[in-house]
Symmetry: D2
């Protein structure tokens, strides 16, 4: 039984990780940490866990976490995460880091988009990006995995195989993404109040969202392509789900069918990517680790559509999937019916 | 043209009052105050007002407000409101107070439910409760009106005529009320985040909600009846609307029809109460000042159902209606079509 | 491996049963029937099943179903269900009937509330009601189980122990219930359109809903008490979940604590009933088979609050739970984490 | 007082037109027609109209409509509308047609996208498109106006001035649009059920939606530009509102500021287009006739964002606006606060 610690257990990615880990036959949650720890049980913080997980929330040091666990799921904000991750690694334990701290390839890029000096720059560039569909080998050897961003997962999975196979142009690529509100986190902000987000639809972070460089960086890392890509995130009045509508131009005479065949072929051994004929709906992937992808032709454009659950495949489901790979389990262990 | 000031303009009742006042043919908004005032226009705070209301948000003293306006709509929290109201009245201007400060009949009752000493106890008991359907005469003579609570409006309007006519017993009365989330206000709290309130239904404040004594007090004031009433509020994942399901016992052989006739008769000259044959839906009163009421028999019980928009008839629409009565206008001026 | 057939596989209870059965370690879905069968795969009807369940939807006779399966989950409308159930039983196989056909104790009661003659009256009165919390022994011996209605589950679980222990009066009992829209089924009707149900809250079936006699009948069967109970269902703009707010009077001097203790004691070996200290939220039981129950005092009343997922504990989760009992498995098999 | 008839009064555009017309000081609704007419009042069909509009729904012939009204708002489906419109015009009365029948410039284009022969081809090409912001003069002289589609309104208003001023390229243009569910109409279909549309986000009609040729045709008619444009509509789980995210390339060295200045200048006398600095939210235009537009630069792209209420500026508000122009009233009469 793998002993798992949840570092920063108060938010939505943490509770989602806990839900999946409770179903996992080879993992047990042995610690949950929070700076708000007051000696009470985690079911005070997340009442749905009543009688399901009896565990005190504690304010543990990285060393204490390392002592207690085999692997830590770090659910902390960026910048706060890296120093703690570094110490847990130093103590010889594994980490899946759900923050953005280890996703980018260089400290320069990090500093340009996140500001400030990176707390642990040596590990950038060598830490695998937690998409087993693209980096399975690196993940299987790793002690640290950078869990992907939610939008990037929805953009990279449909684009990478097509870029690699040189079926589409590296520009223009327009990624128009729409996410449920849980992506905004659990910290109270006016803009995320029910009466603000409900019955409204908005774009945000136009031209400035940090997932844009992540998409470009990882596409480069996985395919060699240097794409010129515009990315716009939007907020949908629903809990969960991301749908990305991606506009690309094909090279030569490729048809929608050709692109679909390429994707099917690329992902034929991957259990969580479904190349579907129907138009993807976020509803169909809710509370699953699947990514549904479809292709449509539209005049001179190809339109790629991808749907994930932002908290599962876009966060904590992917983290469990990475853990499975790190421990040599089947990718799907605890994540699908069997 | 009546000059209106909005005191405490950042919240939902304030913006709702502004929306209605912009439509009012005899009123103009001349001031909007907030302690967060930073010299910017009110459309920064409420972007929907862009090009509709060009007014700087200011941090004005009660005296400055009184100087500028004929009547103030006070949209402040309870306890914060009374001291300011008192000063505006002292300066000779009118006030509709949307807080709870002047609703109850006695300082004792206020202190029991709201804690602390009432800042302006002399006006309790003499300030009319802003339901023109029950207190039109007092409101027409008043300089200060206590705007009703949202739940109380939905409970008092169906109950008062039946208690007055002694068609129903004073106990048991069960008031099971359900409200949209805007009733919780615009201050960021975790429980009101989209991802907490959405796709969930909860009761809250069971046995402790301050609208219970308000309902009992005002039913007594308007009918003489001393009811024994249990009230439970619930939160519905929607923006606006309250539906109250009220269970009562009839005296003698009264039928649902008799109760309906009594209500129709009582409200026959009242423009905003509709006694309907169909089951009320909050949708049918959204963004209107109507209260829809229906009656159904169910075994030995009568079930009264009432629907209002919590921000309109339950708050700012009622405030405009009171203003109309205070100035001798038709109750409906600016509040309905034509 | 138990071979399960889903009879009537197009609706919401069917897909929910499929979801749970896919996780069940001892059950496999071997048939899915529908009169709309056109030779296509079940993932055409329910796209979320793509690559998860490869099964043709067929228009099978009861005899064919019996031949293929060990147990059938009948997800048909009332009146349509009983004739098919009878034939599957006759062929020697087990059935969990999710319709209302076998829930009531007598054909008279059925005819009074559902109209028409009952198609299989002999089995009424002897078919166990599928709440293992109350009828575990009967269910364990049964070949047919009447799966409970969603509202009745939320009302019976909190009431039965308190009536049995004679801690509360048999009248008055007010059950004010609120359900997500999935309870209305998947057949297109105007009232269930998104743009009708969204941002609205309504009561329906006031005084006429068929779950009222079911609650009264089963409370009598399980406790001997003949209650006088008023039940009002409401529609909440959300997918899933039922919250019931139940108003009762205690006998003698019972406190909220006494009632809570009685409930805790009664359900101490039951894995799916959680007596909680906090106020239940439907969110906390979403996509689980739990029923959360709390007690509050409020003047002379006790308020019981119970929350379930209407499609899980209120329908298909309960059906799997019954199957577990019928086969001697642990109640929780396939239904909770481990 | 202008006598208005609502032809086809059961759907969402009809009730929205009625709401606005009830507020209009110069218009009165004198007839409401439906093939489902059964002698009952329109408030049976739309309960929110109880005590607000006392009018029998009738099954009137076009000739009877023409006799009764000065102007008809035709809220019928495409193909059903044109024959009735033609007869009302023939009888000498005015029409605003809310269907798609008269929007396109040629019968060929109509037949290509809508199938079948156009019932009244002579009027194509000469009927003005009901965007007063672009075609005010033609509308003011017209007896028939083709009310714009909802998506086209949100796309044409930001694009037309920039194409006319030749600040942007005619291709590539990517229009990624998101609409609330009311756009799908009131006819019961499974896909529009609450439990299907809620908590999901989907694209639909990718590459095949009829609003694409409408956008291209009207942009050509209003600016002379022949654009190459890809348009993808999506369904958002909310009642009302459209947000369009539009990706364009500038000619030469234009900045976001230059584009914003061009738009501000173009619309400076237009009361319903607001060029805003903040990112538009559909919430800010809900139940108003405004179109909010913003511009952002993003690498080599310009991103235009526009928000409207699909039922108001995208349908019935625009129809009232057109009526105002046809009668020489101020565009805003009955549509904004004053």
């Amino acid at each position: 039984m793998i002993r798992v610690g949840i570092v920063g257990c108060s938010g939505y990615t943490a509770i989602e990780a806990i839900r999946w880990l409770l179903r996992h036959p080879q993992a047990g949650i042995v610690a949950a940490t929070s700076r708000q720890a007051d000696g009470s049980c985690i079911s005070q913080m997340h009442p749905e866990l009543t009688e399901r997980l009896s565990l005190e929330v504690e304010d543990l040091s990285p060393e204490q976490i390392a002592e207690r666990c085999d692997i830590a799921f770090c659910c902390l904000p960026h910048a706060a995460s890296a120093p703690i991750v570094a110490k847990i690694l130093q103590a010889g334990k594994k980490v899946v880091d759900l923050s953005a701290d280890y996703r980018l390839s260089s400290a320069d890029l990090y500093e340009q988009w996140y500001g400030g000096t990176h707390p642990d720059p040596e590990r950038l560039g060598t830490t695998p990006y937690g998409l087993p569909e693209l980096f399975e080998e690196q993940i299987s050897d790793a002690t640290l995995v950078a869990n992907p961003g939610c939008y990037p997962t929805s953009a990279i999975l449909p684009l990478a195989p097509l870029l690699k196979a040189e079926l589409i142009e590296a520009e223009p690529i327009v990624v128009d993404s729409k996410s449920g509100v849980s992506g905004a986190g659990r910290t109270p902000k006016m803009v995320n109040l029910y009466s603000e987000a409900n019955e409204s639809f908005i774009a945000y972070g136009v031209g400035t969202h940090r997932h844009q460089p992540e998409i470009i960086d990882i596409l480069h890392r996985s395919t060699g392509a240097q794409v010129d890509l515009v990315f716009t995130p939007h907020l949908v009045p629903m809990d969960r789900g991301i749908l990305s509508t991606i506009y690309v131009k094909v090279k030569g005479e490729q048809s929608a069918n050709d692109l679909q065949t390429c994707l099917k072929d690329f992902y034929k051994t991957q259990p969580f990517v479904r190349i579907v004929d129907h138009l993807p709906a976020t509803r169909n992937v809710t509370r699953t680790n699947f990514c549904d992808i479809a292709v449509r032709q539209h005049g001179g454009w190809m339109v790629l559509l991808s749907a994930i659950d932002n908290l599962t495949k876009g966060a904590s489901g992917a983290a469990v999937q990475c853990m499975n790979v790190m421990y040599g389990f089947d990718q799907t262990l605890g994540l699908v019916d069997q």
